[in-house]
Amino acid sequence: MSKSVIEMPPKGGFSFDLCKRNEMLAKKGVSPPSFRKTGTTIVGLIFQDGVILGADTRATEGPIVCDKNCEKIHYMAPNIYCCGAGTAADTEAVTDMVSSQLQLHRYHTGRESRVVTALTLLKRHLFNYQGYVSAALVLGGVDVTGPHLHTIYPHGSTDTLPFATMGSGSLAAMAVFESKYKEGLTRDEGIKLVTEAICSGIFNDLGSGSNVDICVITKGGKEYLRNHLQPNPRTYTSSKGYSFPKKTEVLLTKITPLKEKVEIIEGGDAMEE
């Protein structure tokens, strides 16, 4: 009997085969597992000599903090970095992928990567997936054409801005930027402003927290200040400490011996290769 439908290998991308099943399960009250999102406050600003990117370091799974010190500022090229908000797996995957593509492109052209190249690669990918790749990015870098800062939304739209914020804490951070940003900031002023904006997100947004990461990119090079500020130390550690001696409580012991006969077959088959 010949099959009427030829089995095609999956073409890649998303498979929506389970959507009907998921809908049916949801109706029955089964909730889907939550994914790890980064809650997040990420910011970027352009200063006198280049670009400064900032991010908090909290990753959440619903109401629980799953990583107190994760890295949200991703490497794209020696002169380009990208902050990511949204689903952690998506931001990691998409920045890693475009970073590799940029490297190959550098080998091909023999030139330093440009920020607009990274921008176009990212936005094309995200648009292709119609917003299902939930990555909201702040891309910044300095190339031959000067310093650049862009925001990229999950559906693939982009903005080019002198200062930008993304993530659940973006409103808290933007409030700080809108009050205090001016053109031609010095390096120290810029770092101070970015730190203030991220702290505003950390303390006023529940999805963001822990420490402040900063990345300063200039024509001369980059400076990655991991945990530039740590305003949230543990508040209380018991001086006497705690021991955990208790094992599982034994309420009842019942031993049932299994059969002791084991039959040995002489000259059995050797294991299949």
Binding site: I64, V65, D205, R234, T235
Partner: protein, 223 residues
């Protein structure tokens, strides 16, 4: 034609965690002071603890509007009791009153997760734990609220109640001294605020003992 789902809910969750631990001659009741909605903080200094009677204190997490209404209701009922009986309500009596008050609204519940703590008629610590519709139980310690899933396993390990299956029935009250219990509560809240986004800011610790009711605060993470 699929059933139309409600697009408005009368409830909201303001987050927070509460803990209570009963000792031989004291009771510690603690709750954090953060009130939030969604990803925003409404205030960092909201007390979730309410004194219902001389030796009886309640801590509640959940929807604070319902909690406030519940506290007012119980306070009024307590006043009536005092007028009728010329004495304060005991903790076990208040415990039953709370249960009945909650079940009264079985079909439009108070979205309030309560722990009641205090001293019983003999001066021994007692803790009662509730669900939203009034099911209650006298226990040696309890935790409710958003951080309860993080706190309860640790308290189980440190204060483990003897199994109810063992005979003779043993009392669940902890042999720890008051200072040790407070130390435990501080550790528990510091740990919960590391991993629960809704717990933080400050913890309010209330201690009920023969001398009366005492209150202290400790700072927690503010992020």
């Amino acid at each position: 034609m699929t059933k139309q789902q409600a697009n408005w809910s009368p409830y909201d969750n303001n987050g927070g965690s509460c803990v209570a631990i009963a000792g031989a001659d004291y009771c510690v009741i603690a709750a954090d002071t953060r009130m939030s909605t969604g990803y925003n903080i409404l205030t960092r200094e909201y007390s979730k603890i309410c004194k219902l009677a001389d030796k009886c204190v309640m801590a509640s997490s959940g929807f604070q509007a319902d909690v406030k209404a519940l506290q007012k209701n119980l306070a009024a009922r307590h006043l009536i009791y005092q007028h009728q009986h010329n004495k304060q309500m005991s903790c076990p009596a208040m415990a039953q009153l709370l249960s009945n008050t909650l079940y009264y609204k079985r079909f439009f519940p108070y979205y309030s997760f309560n722990v009641l703590g205090g001293l019983d008629n003999e001066g021994k610590g007692c803790v009662f734990t509730y669900d939203a519709v009034g099911s209650y139980e006298k226990v040696g310690y309890s935790s409710q609220g958003s951080g309860s899933t993080l706190i309860t396993p640790f308290l189980d390990n440190q204060l483990k109640s003897p199994s109810p299956l063992l005979l003779p029935v043993q009392d669940a009250v902890t042999p720890l001294v008051e200072a040790e219990a407070i130390d435990l509560v501080k550790t528990v809240f510091a740990s919960a605020s590391e991993r629960d986004i809704y717990t933080g800011d400050k913890v309010e610790i209330v201690v009920v003992n023969a001398a009366g009711i005492r209150r202290e605060y400790m700072e927690l993470r503010k992020d």
